[in-house]
Amino acid sequence: MKNYDIVIIGGGPAGLAAAVSARQSGIDSILILERDKELGGILNQCIHNGFGLHTFKEELTGPEYAQRFIVQAKELDIEYRLNTMVLEVGADKVVTAMNREDGLFLIQAKAVILAMGCRERPRGALNIPGYRPAGIYSAGTAQRLVNMDGYMPGREVVILGSGDIGLIMARRMTLEGAKVKVVAELMPYSGGLKRNIVQCLDDYGIPLKLSHTVVDIKGKERVEGVTLAQVDEKNKPIPGTEEYYACDTLLLSVGLIPENEISRGMGVVMNPVTSGPRVNESLETNLEGVFACGNVLHVHDLVDFVSEEAAAAGRNAAAYVKSGKDGASDAKTPVVAAKNAVDKDTREEMAQQDTGAGSEQEIELVATGGVRYTVPCTIRTSHMEDELKVRFRVGSVYQNCFVSVYFDDERVIHRKKMVFAPAEMEEVKLTKEQILRYPELRRITFRIEE
């Protein structure tokens, strides 16, 4: 079995930025495992521009943005293996991976960084009734077909879901010669960034129908049309509002789900709101030395924040390795065949043991009053960098409201913003100095206030 200090699962922007920063923090032995045939992750199919405004102060396409990190990783001689699928990771940080050349193999890591990204929610998740013909694609699948393979999935398109991928595909399909008839969105607000609505729909005269959903799909072999209807406050279709659109393609952009099979298998405790791991200030999960960043942790809208977050994960993983706390030497032999190595009970037990293990009391971050979640979920002041960015999302649209942060019962931050929208990730900076002023601090509460 080979040994590495840090094994990174996923070679997308998160994995790459984590690798680069871990190397810059002085770790030599790093391995990135990527199942695709190239590094760069989902960015390789995002050929539109708009990436990197924060990081590089210029507008890059997805592949260009990825390339900057790939070049850095190569310059730093970071080892990576492509076409290599990680199948599972044991709680003892033994990574089981597979590819054509090496077959199934095991690697012992001192620290693991989870950077597997996310997947798209399928139609079934929405219970859309109707037939199940060809021509129903998730927007990301269509994006891959068009942008990477050059194939048109259809000519006349209806898009359900106004998430960024849906919006971007509305424009892409139009540019490639298809007619996008309408974008329907279940919620009364768009799930995508404002700039994407303007640049991808408005500029091409594509209508956006808010509070609408697909109530029927017609066509036995290939999609022939879909019926949209308006929905009420409970998201139930309103009878009489049905409208039929003839089309041969239905694209679904109805949400992304972090890809956490591996994390669950190892016994990482999840946050049900994000479907990503619960992490502390170091982006470390309940398992010591197992870190998470990027879309596998929570779905991001801007890759710049992915890179920033991942760099922190890389630094923290490096610090963990250097602290020599890893118990790699007494690792048990892994069971390869067992699919779900850890059952729920043991997982919960482990979680408990783990929170009890640290000598220091953790500060809990609580999301409430319109704030859906925060990343991280806990803070250990001793491990905190001078400044910590707490990222969160709101549950619906708020105008002219404040984001408030309470240290126990005292409000310490109260910042006004014109619009808070679920589509845009928010952040609040906390400083170590600020927190140290409250030695008895137990919980930090985040809420939206009028």
Binding site: R35, R100, M152, E221
Partner: protein, 479 residues
């Protein structure tokens, strides 16, 4: 001239073909779709019922119990997934106890073994997620679950290996009685046969009525389902039915052989015999009613929904046998539930009739067993690495949800009666059946299909016919 032509390659047609392939005869299966298992056999509850449901003395009762007995052995011979997980019929009121007892008695009369009536505590001990409202339940340990695609494909594949000719994309349009045998007119020309087996599912009445004056009438009854993620697969271990009561027949909750959770079906009569569309009403019913027998079903984990059509015959029983006024025309009609459970016995019975009729003689080179597609996940590390060394395609994961390798997909395409479409690959390997529902693997599987079948990407379909997946190249319509 064929000795036997079988119409339909669902579980019944395939089971008959499999049984008949033991004999020296020229046999052909005509199927209008591009693959086996494209009709009702692909969309049902996949329960191998114990056999207490059907009226004692009916064909349904007899063949169900016999089919249930045969299934285990068959699953080993032909290598398809089958599991005896047991089933429970829940009763919610003391006043319904006589009905539960009647079900038990009927089961005994039908020859079902090992049944027991359990009280509330025993039920909850067995299945902690069953609702606290349960009063008692009938437990049938012989109840099972099967992979309906696996079963159908295994039967057909083995029949094919034993010399049965399968003609796909061939729709029977008209049947005429000839001096000797029958002439079947199809959209691919005329087929002649001494004997015809009518296993056309919801259309079996149509063909029967073309040759017989004793008319059949089959109506299609649609059933909607929701399938949940594997994470929910352990919510119950046994198949949970409810005793038909004031609220109708109830919705079953069952694990599948692949570890998902399946809930459904509804029952709605429909005009269109191709009407397998789900409806908002149907899905809503499934989701609410399932909660009446099993609590805390994680309905947020639905990954797909689908519908199937029961072939309900007015006489309410299976019709298996030679039509009285049409010698050599053998029906397998009105095969609604428990058709899956019964199919090994249906095959036995219908083939028996044909064999007697034609005086068929057994082959001495019949191949009785079949090896299914190898699932590398079942191998130990050394074996798996040997396999990958020999064939690196087994080291390449294509479907990340179900962990299906390129090697398995190639096997599914190259083997007898191999897959030709995305759904064909899916039914044979599970690629695309997982939680992302083929979002990730479909472009990859399409490439493999194109390469292996020497097809253009533009000709790759989801399920044959006009179900094309890509329609052109970028900007090809932009001048």
């Amino acid at each position: 001239m064929y000795d036997v032509v079988i119409i339909g390659a669902g579980v019944c047609g395939a089971a008959v073909a499999h049984e008949l392939s033991r004999y020296q005869a020229k046999i052909c299966v005509l199927e209008k779709e591009e693959d086996v298992c494209c009709g009702t056999s692909k969309a049902n509850s996949a329960i191998v019922h114990a056999g207490y449901d059907a009226v004692t003395g009916s064909l349904k009762a007899k063949l169900n119990v016999r089919g249930n007995e045969l299934m285990e052995e068959l699953s080993k011979e032909l290598d398809f997934p089958f599991e005896r997980n047991g089933s429970l019929v829940l009763c919610f009121n003391e006043s319904d106890m006589p009905n539960l007892q009647a079900l038990y008695d009927r089961g005994v009369a039908n020859g079902v073994k090992g049944m027991k009536i359990l009280n509330k505590e025993e039920v909850l001990q067995m299945e902690p997620n069953v609702t606290e409202d349960v009063y008692a339940a009938l437990y049938a340990p012989t109840g099972g679950i099967v992979c309906p695609f696996g079963l159908n494909i295994a039967l057909a594949e083995n029949a094919c290996v034993n010399g049965v000719d399968f003609q796909f994309d061939t729709e029977v349009i008209q049947i005429r009685k000839m001096e000797e045998g029958y002439e079947l007119q199809t959209d691919k020309g005329v087929f002649c046969a001494k004997c015809v087996v009518n296993a056309a599912g919801v259309y079996a009445d149509k063909f029967h009525n073309m040759v017989s004056e004793k008319k059949l009438s089959i109506t299609a009854r649609r059933g909607d389902y929701c399938l949940l993620d594997k994470e929910a697969g352990n919510h119950v271990r046994r198949t949970i039915f409810t005793l038909p009561g004031k609220l109708g027949k109830g919705i079953l909750v069952t694990p599948t052989v692949h570890g998902n959770l399946l809930i459904g079906p509804t029952a709605v009569e429909v005009e269109d015999k191709e009407g397998v569309n789900t409806t908002a009403d149907g899905l809503a019913q499934v989701l609410t009613k399932a909660g009446m027998s099993v609590k805390n079903i994680p309905t947020r984990q639905v990954i797909t929904s689908f519908a199937g059509l029961r072939a309900h015959e007015a006489g309410d029983d299976f019709i298996i046998g030679e039509a009285e006024d049409a010698p050599g025309f053998v029906d397998c009609a009105g095969i609604e539930s428990p058709g899956i459970a019964s199919c090994p016995a249906i095959g036995e019975m219908a083939a028996g009739i044909v064999k007697e009729k034609m005086g068929l003689i057994a082959k001495d080179d019949f191949i009785a067993t079949r090896k299914g597609i190898l699932n590398p996940g079942t191998l130990c590390m050394e074996e798996r690495n040997d396999l990958i060394k020999e064939n690196p395609a087994y080291g390449n994961i294509i479907c990340r949800c179900e962990m299906v390798t390129e090697g398995e997909i190639i096997d599914a395409i190259r083997r007898p009666l191999g897959a030709k479409s995305l759904d064909g690959v899916k039914r044979r390997t599970r690629a695309g059946m997982g939680r992302c529902q083929s979002g990730f693997c479909s472009p990859r599987t399409m490439e493999i299909l194109a390469r292996e079948c020497g097809m253009s990407m533009f000709d790759i379909t989801k399920s044959g016919g006009n179900s094309k997946l890509v329609v052109g190249t970028n900007k090809d319509t932009v001048s």
